[in-house]
Amino acid sequence: MLTLIKDTLTSQVVTLWRVFSHLWVKADTVEYPDEMPYMFPRWRGRIILSRDPDGEERCVACNLCAVACPVDCIALQKTEDDEGRWYPEFFRINFSRCIMCGFCEEACPTNAIQLTPDFEMAEYERQDMVWEKEDLLIDGTGKYHDYNFYRVAGKKIGGKDKGEARNEAVPVNVRSLLP
């Protein structure tokens, strides 16, 4: 009985002391949003579509992000310009479903789709969480600055003829008899 009283008193006094002693400790709480936390560049937040170093849309509408997406929240449709460049006619992400897993970024063969450190995506209306290409497309290259898919791939587009991609020889003259 005596031990019980002793233990209880000790425990309460210690607890009071702990609380009291914290008056002189520096607070951990960050005064968000007045004070913004540092977000690491590879944080997986809001998804963007980037442009290549030439300022053209990087996305070629290959559909790999959509198929990699575990919650199927990406939908797009391929279309093509007059000179053969593929791009998405529409590109839609339903952020109310997105789990920020980053699989889309990992699947993207052109570094077009990227996750950014922005996490401030709350909306009052769920419908506002559906983002179209106009909302997603940024004007820069995002995290990856140099890669330009069409400069590597051997498909002819406006401004890049056959044989002008990286590591390509000039087109073969089929009629030539030379070796």
């Binding site: 070629v60 509408a61 290959c62 559909n63 790999l64 959509a66 198929v67 997406c69 919650v71 199927d72 929240c73 990406i74 939908a75 797009l76 449709q77 391929k78 093509e80 593929w86 839609r92 992400i93 339903n94 109310s96 479903r97 063969p109 052109t110 769920r126 419908q127 969480m129 559906v130 179209e132 898919f149 590597v152 791939a153 051997g154 498909k155 002819k156 056959k162 044989g163 991609a165 590591n167 390509e168 020889a169 000039v170 087109p171 073969v172 089929v174 009629r175 030539s176 070796p179």
Partner: protein
């Protein structure tokens, strides 16, 4: 049977096959490129290398190409051997040296045999750091895209296009690593089967151009097993839908019907489903404008049309269920055939012959086995294209026989071709003009239609004296020769059709009957082609005396007050004046159709009907094979299957059941139904692949709250990704997929052996019972001879344009011509006509383009009616052509592909 050991496991195999075939038949994964199940082996790509051991003591072994090595008894091989594996990996590494790193922007990506094989062989990074060779592409027409950079020079394209399909304008050019596959100059690929290049090419050199314009990956397409509605062959297809529109059609394997290939009409002619000409709302005519019908009004209309005094006109392009529903609604005696009167006559003959014990109606696969063929007056390439491709294979049976004599296996493609050179099984063509099959014909006779009929009877008489005699002295020697060829053949085949009346069918039947009497008791292959997907089904449904002419007379005379026209444009079936007077006289006209036609313009009420991909239906092909076509996607608007508008049946299965028991000849139709739900826990088969993407975003722009998944109460398939995957039961598998095999080559995983039937597969159900025994037809009286400026008429058909619905598809339109009349240079000269002139034809006075062809019989005019308002029913055997001052029409005849087109003099 032989026994071979593969990696220590013993397998029972067929010694006539090669090791690659047997490895695939046994379900093993062995990479390959140049081999194709229907084209045999040439050993070009070196990808299927395996280790073969002399005997059990041989530990070294040697590398052999599996596709070039027979699966002989006692063979011991290894697929897993390290040397074999590294050889295969090195081969693919060298094939990939110049591959252009463009999978993301390649239409083949995701269903690419090259991707699969590269993964399977374990090649990852390009070590070679020299430059990639590049090629310029060619324009190959509205169907096919060309991207030569992707080529790995397996030669499959030219082996298919030239050797298999008989094309002449695709070739391998240049040499060494510059080899180029293309045309000698840019231009439309001429073959009617060019679309198969898309599936034959193991990578993305040849891709579907129309599909690319609204591209989706294979895994994103909602598919279901379907049947092509382009002609009467009934090829099996797998249409794919995404975002509510039909995107493409690919081949679906059926061992008895189309095998691995489709024609271009079937592959590219579906676009009308998405077209603006579709009827999508029920409307009634009010002062020459359409007004939307409310539900209760529709009920009232149906009630009104259920009363006495209504007749129904069926349709050869509508399903059995819709025709049956109409027949039940109006009563047997008021149900009329939906094709022209001349076709009624032909159909009567075809249906009588179908139940005759003396004849056998061959499937496409069986046609390939024929060793002597006679084509009587039918332009097979343009009427039933897939059969023309099969006929091309039939003439190779001589080569196969020669190969067997020399003990060369049949799969040794190059060796068999080298041995046979130009030796072919006899194929004779009797027609009014040259045709696209002439290059394989041993004999061909160009004659007017009455002369062809006489010649047919003459051949019959020469085979068996009991057949009625006819004389055509000019061609006596050829007739003698053809008769001898047919008599000497093991499996002779006679091909005719209803394109030009019933007399040719009767002559063909007489030849087959003569062969039957002459030979042993075996039934003779008699292939009678009919024009449309369900011509046979419609023919079985309508009583013989209930022809369209009778129906129109009933309306004009007032004996019938109301008419229901089912999926039919009557102006294509009967003379304009006749249809006009009938529809004007009728009190009320109800038309159910998919698209706007001249007939819907006359309708008082129009009810919109779903297209082939939007409903489940059964069709009966030329040989009496009933096949089930599943619904692929929902119609976005108010169209419904025709039977749903006019019948109270709740379910298509009910209608099929009733059709089986009530309609004569349909008893076996129920065999095509999947039967009692064979699936675990009542789960359905998903129409969407297990990788279907975008489920929660596709319609999120409309409403972020996803609706409940669409239910399908009709069939055993569901509009979702969930359920028992179709791979478990290939009888309802639209698009084959197996682990490691994303391309259509995965079909070998579902065949009981390579080229065999699908495991648990459904090849359709043959409806006709062979019970009757008939007798010879009489030789017809001599036909009316042309007088003055008249010419014999022969109706001509075009693969692109003659079919009513596919002619509304955009890619097909680019290949179509205007209505034309084909005459020989002499006839043109005597009438003062030049190539491309516009002429009018009597009796209708319709304008047609003059097409001067050197291969047309003098005195005969070929009339191609086009999609314009010329009804073949207006003409009776003779035709007059007058030069007209009218301007040249929009399309002209520039896209006509015939071998005998007379070039303009310069």
């Amino acid at each position: 049977m032989a026994k071979i050991v593969i990696d220590g496991v013993e397998y029972e195999v067929n010694p006539d096959n090669n090791l690659l075939q047997e490895c695939l038949s046994q379900g093993l994964d062995l990479p390959y490129f140049c081999w194709h199940p229907s084209m045999g082996s040439v050993g070009a790509c070196r990808q299927c290398a395996v280790k073969q051991y002399r005997d059990e003591d041989d530990k070294e072994g040697m590398l052999v190409m599996a596709c070039m090595t027979p699966a002989s008894d006692g063979a011991i091989i290894s697929l897993e051997d390290e040397q074999a594996k590294s050889f295969r990996s090195d081969v693919i590494e060298s094939l990939m040296i110049s591959h252009p790193h463009d999978c993301p922007v390649c239409e083949e990506g995701g269903e690419c045999h090259l991707q699969d094989m590269t993964q399977m062989s374990g090649h990852n990074y390009r070590r070679y750091d020299k430059k990639k060779r590049t090629h310029r592409n060619q324009y190959l027409g509205p169907f096919i895209n060309h991207e030569m950079n992707r080529c790995i020079t397996c030669y499959r394209c030219v082996r298919y296009y030239d050797d298999y399909a008989g094309g002449t304008d695709l070739s391998a050019q240049a040499s060494h690593h510059h080899v180029y596959f293309g045309r000698h100059e840019e231009g439309v690929l001429e073959s009617e089967f060019s679309g198969n290049l898309v599936e034959v090419c193991p990578t993305g050199v040849f891709t579907d151009k129309a599909f690319s314009q609204h591209y989706s990956r294979k895994w994103d397409l909602q598919t279901a097993p379907s049947v092509c509605v382009g002609c009467s062959v009934g090829c099996n297809t797998a249409p794919g839908e995404r975002y509510g529109t039909l995107r493409r059609i690919v081949n679906r394997y059926n061992s008895e019907v189309n095998g691995y290939f489709l024609c271009d009409r079937g592959r590219f002619g579906f676009d009308y489903v998405n077209s603006r000409e579709r009827l999508l709302e029920p409307v009634k005519r009010v002062d020459n404008t359409g007004e939307l019908l409310a539900d209760d009004e529709i009920k009232a209309v149906i009630k009104e049309f259920s009363r006495e005094g209504t007749i129904g006109i069926g349709s050869p392009r509508a399903s059995n269920e819709s025709n049956f529903a109409l027949k039940t609604m109006v009563g047997d005696e008021n149900f009329f055939a939906g094709y022209s009167d001349s076709e009624s006559e032909s159909m009567a003959a075809v249906l009588t012959l179908a139940s005759d014990k003396a004849f056998h109606s061959p499937s496409v696969r069986k046609i390939e086995e024929a060793d002597a063929v006679l084509i009587l007056g039918e332009d097979v390439t343009n009427v039933a294209p897939r059969i023309a491709l099969a006929l091309r294979q039939s003439v190779r049976n001589k080569a196969m026989d020669l190969a067997s004599e020399s003990r060369i296996p049949q799969w040794q493609d190059a060796a068999v071709r080298e041995l046979a050179q130009h030796e072919r099984s006899p194929l004779s063509i009797l027609s009014p003009a040259v045709s696209r099959l002439d290059d394989i014909a041993a004999d061909r006779v160009i004659e007017s239609l009455p002369a062809l009929v006489a010649m047919g009877h003459q051949i019959a008489n020469k085979i068996s004296g009991s057949a009625p005699a006819a004389t055509s002295p000019e061609h006596d020697a050829v007739a003698e020769k053809i008769a001898a060829q047919l008599k000497g053949a093991k499996r002779p085949l006679i091909v005719a059709g209803s394109s030009n009346g019933s007399e040719l069918i009767k002559a063909a039947a007489n030849i087959a009957r003569a062969l039957h009497e002459d030979g042993e008791d075996a039934a003779i292959d008699l292939c009678l082609l009919v024009p449309e997907v369900n011509s046979i089904g419609m023919g079985l449904m309508a009583a013989e005396e209930n022809s369209l002419g009778v129906a129109l007379d009933k309306l004009s005379s007032g004996a019938a007050k109301r008419v229901i026209v089912l999926e039919n444009d009557l102006y294509r079936r009967a003379a304009k004046s006749q249809v006009d007077s009938a529809l004007d006289k009728a009190e009320k006209v109800l038309v159910l159709d998919q698209v706007t036609t001249a007939t819907t313009a006359k309708a008082d009420v129009i009810l919109p009907v779903t297209a082939f991909s939007e409903h489940e239906a059964t069709y009966i092909n030329y040989e009496g094979r009933a096949q089930l076509s599943f619904q692929v996607h929902q119609c976005q608007k108010m169209a419904q299957p025709a039977w749903r508008w006019i019948s109270d049946a709740a379910h298509i299965d009910d209608l099929v059941e009733r059709c089986c028991s009530e309609a004569p000849g349909f008893a076996k139709l129920r065999d095509v139904l999947p039967g009692e739900n064979p699936f675990i826990a009542g789960m359905k088969v998903p129409r969407q692949s297990h990788r279907y993407s975008g489920r929660t975003a596709m319609i999120a722009n409309v409403n972020v709250h996803e609706p409940k998944q669409m239910e399908d109460k009709e069939s055993i398939m569901s509009f979702s990704m969930e359920g028992i995957s179709a791979q478990k039961d290939p009888s309802i598998m639209a698009s084959p997929w197996a682990p490691k095999w994303n391309s259509n080559q995965s079909i070998s995983k579902f065949q009981d052996e390579v080229n065999g039937e699908l495991k648990q597969g459904h090849v359709g159900s043959l409806l006709f019972e062979k019970t009757a025994s008939g007798s010879y037809f009489d030789v017809p009286a001599v036909a009316a001879q042309p007088s003055g400026k008249q010419l014999h008429l022969a109706l001509s058909y075009q693969i692109f344009g003659s079919d009513e619905l596919s002619a509304r598809a955009e890619p097909i339109r680019e290949r179509m011509t205007d209505a034309y009349v084909g005459i020989c240079p002499e006839d043109a000269q005597s009438r003062g006509l030049a190539q491309g002139d516009v002429a009018t034809i009597t009796p209708t006075g319709a304008p047609v383009v003059v097409c001067i062809r050197t291969g047309v019989k003098p005195g005969t005019a070929l009339l191609y009616c086009g999609d314009a308002n010329i009804s073949p029913a207006e003409f009776t055997g003779l035709l007059e052509i007058e030069k007209s001052a009218a301007q040249a029409t929009s399309r002209g005849i520039s896209s006509l592909i015939v071998s005998d087109f007379q070039e303009e003099e310069i």
